[in-house]
């Protein structure tokens, strides 16, 4: 042991009290400043999303905020107190220029891009969250059962996921979204299609971990105590692999946010309400206007970018913090 180890709380020779994996991981996570900053960003997104969902802000996104012109430029790009002729603007005119609704300009209908971006979080985050939960709800039990039971059950589940993973992911998602669109309303088709097609990686991961765990002493002990199979899987093994689910969740979430953008481009996304995907797609026509309209693209891209960045970095830090094998490296 080197001398630098003594000042870290993790390496004291005799811990006063045992720490759980989670506490331990949290202590390690907290030391990563960038990761902590990213966690705050995620928190901010969650807070904004909660406010938007409650209807307090941006519920009036479909109301035009300007009547004079389409595609009003973002207010901050021309924070001026005088107009082109050099006449000083009245306070009222200045205020209008920096009204929050106009910070990111307006779209073709004069709707506030800021409000649309905020409101877009509803669909984008709903799709990503429900698709993630759905794929976890399918992947984890399947993986746990396959790994623990083995035999024919294992073979069937492995066959199922090998088959699904042989079909190109995007075609599979498209085919599902395409077919489900007829039966399920609105965005339900989108997240169901994403959820039911992307549990394979997680299932494979959990199966592998459960295979490792099932021969460990604590499982044998639980068996001796007479615990049922379902109890062993749910109460003993799954908690021991749950950190993998959490790490996987953060990266999965990012993937779904990006998938929504592409599905929207293909016309399989939400129709009536704005999402970050539909906003980015509107830029296809906006950019070719003269002068080109870039603010809606910028706002939606920034919304996707910062959330993805935060989740990616925090997810990586979380994986490192939760990996007991890396303890001595960091």
């Amino acid at each position: 042991m080197t001398s630098t180890d003594t000042d870290t709380p993790l390496r004291s020779p005799i811990p006063a009290k045992g720490r759980s994996l989670w506490t331990d991981a949290w202590l390690r996570f907290r030391r990563r400043k960038l990761a902590m900053a990213m966690l705050w960003i995620i928190g901010l997104y969650a807070l904004l999303a909660a406010i938007v969902f409650s209807g307090l802000i941006a519920a009036d996104w479909d109301q035009p905020v300007v009547t004079s012109e389409f595609y009003e430029r973002p207010a901050w790009s021309r924070l001026v107190v005088a107009d082109a002729q050099g006449n000083a603007l009245t306070k009222n005119e200045q205020y209008r220029k920096i009204a929050p609704e106009l910070w990111f300009g307006t779209d073709i209908f004069g709707q506030s891009v800021l409000r649309k971006t905020l409101y877009g979080a509803r669909i984008s985050l709903t799709v990503a969250l429900l698709a993630s939960l759905l794929s976890i709800a399918i992947g984890v039990p399947m993986g746990a059962i396959a790994g623990y039971c083995g035999g024919l059950v294992d073979e069937i589940i492995v066959w199922l996921y090998s088959t699904l993973s042989s079909i190109p992911g995007f075609l599979l998602i498209l085919a599902f979204a395409f077919v489900l669109r007829e039966r399920l309303p609105g965005i339900t088709a989108v997240y169901v299609a994403l959820g039911v097609t992307s549990w394979v990686g997680l299932c494979r991961l959990i199966r592998g971990e459960v295979l490792k765990h099932k021969n460990r002493d604590y499982v044998a002990a639980a068996k001796v105590y007479g615990a049922s199979q379902s109890r062993i899987i749910l109460r003993h093994i799954v908690p021991n692999v749950s950190h993998l689910i959490l790490t996987d969740f953060s990266l999965r979430f990012v993937g779904f946010i990006h998938a929504e953008v592409i599905l929207s481009y293909l016309g399989l996304g939400p129709k009536e309400e704005p999402s970050w995907g539909t906003m980015i797609n509107e830029a296809k026509l906006e950019l070719t206007r003269n002068p080109s309209v870039w603010w809606q693209l910028a706002a939606a891209t920034a919304a996707v970018l910062f959330l993805s960045l935060a989740l990616n970095i925090a997810g990586d830090a979380m994986r490192d913090a939760l990996d007991p094998k890396l303890k001595h490296v960091a």
């Binding site: 066959w159 199922l160 088959t163 079909i167 481009y265 293909l266 996707v304 993805s308 990616n312 990586d316």
Partner: protein, 324 residues
């Protein structure tokens, strides 16, 4: 070795069967009869619909044709949608596209070269750039260089793919005019910008993947031995480490190859490249079920074969792997 290959080949049978089953459920069972009336159009008569149903075999029962058994004997039981789906796919006898009335196999053969002309250079460039960056970054792990590059990679992965295409096309083709906006009239020049965009968008994820792979090898004893006997750093990296990191690299490469045929859905559409990706999007927009179904099946089969090839490559590259 041969026994292994044969066993591995046999193992692909249930997978191919599964792919057939899933495409069948997706494209025949779930949409039901609705696709025939949809294909016939709004002003179609009942005869038109019946005709289409007959051409695509949708007038038959789904799994087993019990009605026909009485008339035509026991073999007629297989005169059902599923067995026709199976038979047609196995003999690569795909139906005609209902939009263009063209044979789907011909369409695929026509589109594949365009897709490959886009995806193969894109893939090779991304791969070589990513492996080189990953090696140097892994070598300098923990330094500002490493942290900076990894951050850039994550940043690159966090930007939506569509934003890359929109901005790339806007700035370099539309605004600056360095490249043609679509590849219609300039066959090769038109491919340069989509390839560059694809490489830029894809390199981040690859660097991160290969960096992890290289890091696992970097601390191995053989690397220290190599340095100890006086091997230069580039040689240690590119000969010793790279060779040992080959297994995950090969897996990724071989498994990516089938998807090269698929082309790039978005890039092809934006740059007007008439490849398979573009064809898929047209099929989706035109609700052309037979085309999507055939695409899905063919790429899946290529993927299964790619998987097989990977396992065989392992045994060639890494003699430590014994095929038991």
């Amino acid at each position: 070795m041969w026994a292994y290959i044969v066993r591995r080949l046999l193992y692909t049978i249930p997978i191919v069967f599964g792919v057939l089953l899933i495409t069948f459920i997706l494209f025949n069972v779930v949409p039901g009869g609705s696709q025939a009336s949809e294909m016939a159009g709004k002003a179609a008569s009942a005869e038109n619909i019946a005709e289409i149903k007959k051409e695509y075999g949708w007038d038959k029962p789904l799994l087993i044709n019990l009605n026909a058994v009485g008339e035509h004997g026991i073999l007629a039981a297989f005169d059902s949608q599923f067995f026709h789906h199976f038979k047609n796919a196995a003999s690569f006898n795909f139906k005609r596209s209902h939009k263009t009335r063209e044979n789907i196999l011909d369409m695929l053969i026509r589109g594949a070269p365009y897709s490959l002309a886009l995806t193969v250079p894109m893939f090779l460039l991304t791969l070589s750039i990513a492996v080189c960056i990953a090696l140097t970054v892994a070598f300098a792990r923990g330094t500002a260089w490493d942290v900076g590059i990894v951050f850039l990679c994550v940043f690159g992965m966090s930007l939506p793919y569509l934003a890359y295409i929109l901005l790339g096309q806007y700035f370099f083709a539309f605004k600056l005019g360095w490249f043609p906006i679509t590849s219609h009239d300039h066959r090769w020049l038109g491919l340069v910008l989509p390839i560059l965009i694809g490489v830029t968008a894809g390199v981040g994820g690859d660097v991160r993947f290969y960096r992890t792979v290289m890091l696992d090898e970097m601390n191995a004893d053989y690397v220290r031995t190599a340095y100890a006997k006086g091997v230069t750093t580039p040689r240690a990296l590119f000969v010793h480490v790279l060779k040992n990191a080959m297994i995950p690299v090969i897996t990724r490469v071989v498994l990516a190859i089938p998807f090269l045929f698929l082309g790039s859905l978005l890039l092809e559409r934006f740059f007007g490249i008439p490849g398979l990706g573009d064809m898929t999007i047209s099929a989706i927009n035109g609700r052309d079920f037979p085309v999507i179904s055939a695409m899905t099946f063919i790429i899946s089969i290529l993927f299964v074969l790619g998987n097989l090839a990977t396992d065989i490559c392992y045994s060639i590259v890494d003699p430590r792997i014994t095929l038991s």
